[in-house]
């Protein structure tokens, strides 16, 4: 349990709780836990379940927050290589390696399995949209013809996530092929 002394340090407590909760979720999903519920997460994290019920409307929302936190920790601006092809290739390869790690792939599957109804927003997708927009913006500054942000999401990001979620193999060659295809669209 996070103790009372902890809660007197401003800022310290909530960050520590958040880290404990995110780590617990990552561990449980990584271990292939069949049912990741608030009580189970709270027990693993050593926090009071009410902390979770107060902060997240359901387990799915917590899973999304963890996914976005993981993305944000791991370097979040798209790479700036000086060319559109270079930026897209390096970015697509990074995404591909990142999401295909077994624990991350399992995580994504658990996250989507928790979605029952259509979602209005997908935070993971929103992070990718911002990164794609940066890449397109830099290309436009250099005067390079570029696909749209939506085309990059649909034809580079979506096929990578599709393969990973369906447990099909991805590699750098696949990432590069997707980039070549999307560049041919605006070619």
């Amino acid at each position: 349990m996070v103790d009372a002394a902890e809660s007197r340090r401003p800022g310290g407590r909530s960050t520590r709780v958040l880290n404990a909760v995110y780590t617990a979720v990552g561990e449980l999903v990584g271990e292939g836990a069949e049912r990741v519920s608030f009580p189970v997460i709270a027990e693993r994290a050593g926090v009071n379940p009410t902390t979770l019920y107060r902060r997240w409307p359901d387990v799915g929302s917590l899973l999304e927050d963890v996914a976005v936190a993981a993305l944000t920790r791991e370097g979040e601006s798209a790479p700036d290589t000086g060319s559109l092809r270079g930026d897209l290739t390096s970015w697509a390869e990074t995404i591909s390696r990142d999401i295909s790690r077994p624990e991350r792939a399992r995580y994504l599957r658990a996250m989507v399995a928790a979605r029952v109804h259509l979602v209005a927003a997908c935070p993971v997708n929103d992070v990718r949209r911002e990164q794609a927009a940066e890449v397109v913006q830099r290309a436009s500054t250099r005067g390079e013809p570029a696909p749209t942000v939506e085309q990059i999401l649909d034809h580079v990001v979506a096929p990578l996530y599709h393969r990973v979620v369906f447990a099909l193999e991805v590699d750098d060659a696949f990432a590069r092929r997707l980039v070549a295809d999307v560049l041919a669209m605006s070619g």
Copy 2:
């Protein structure tokens, strides 16, 4: 339970068992059952659990077979409209409407959630590959330039499944946009 008399009619029993099992799986996943296990499926289908253990190595394989059976029931050849754009558009719209039905979307999520390790083959994907190959073959017979089968899978099929599995909205306009993009590749 499927009775002994039934098993004396050649062909009858196994088809009847299969239908009962597939229906049970569809119902359970559709109802949002948290854990679809062999005993639970057997009980709902009114068959002996050993029937399931004998036929499928795990629940995931059974889910895949049901998914393929559903695809196959629902008209499987890609439409023949006389043009590549027409074929792809009609096919993409059909896929989009089919997999975005709530019970089918939940089904796909349950199916991928059951995948723990990389799969060597994805039967659902294989059905789509055959359909795409038909469309490309007809285009080639007519002398129309066409994208490759892999491009159609990566840039039309994958983005549709990606959105549905992530519980994001798809509609005919989205399907048509994907087709326009993939046609621009082979420009």
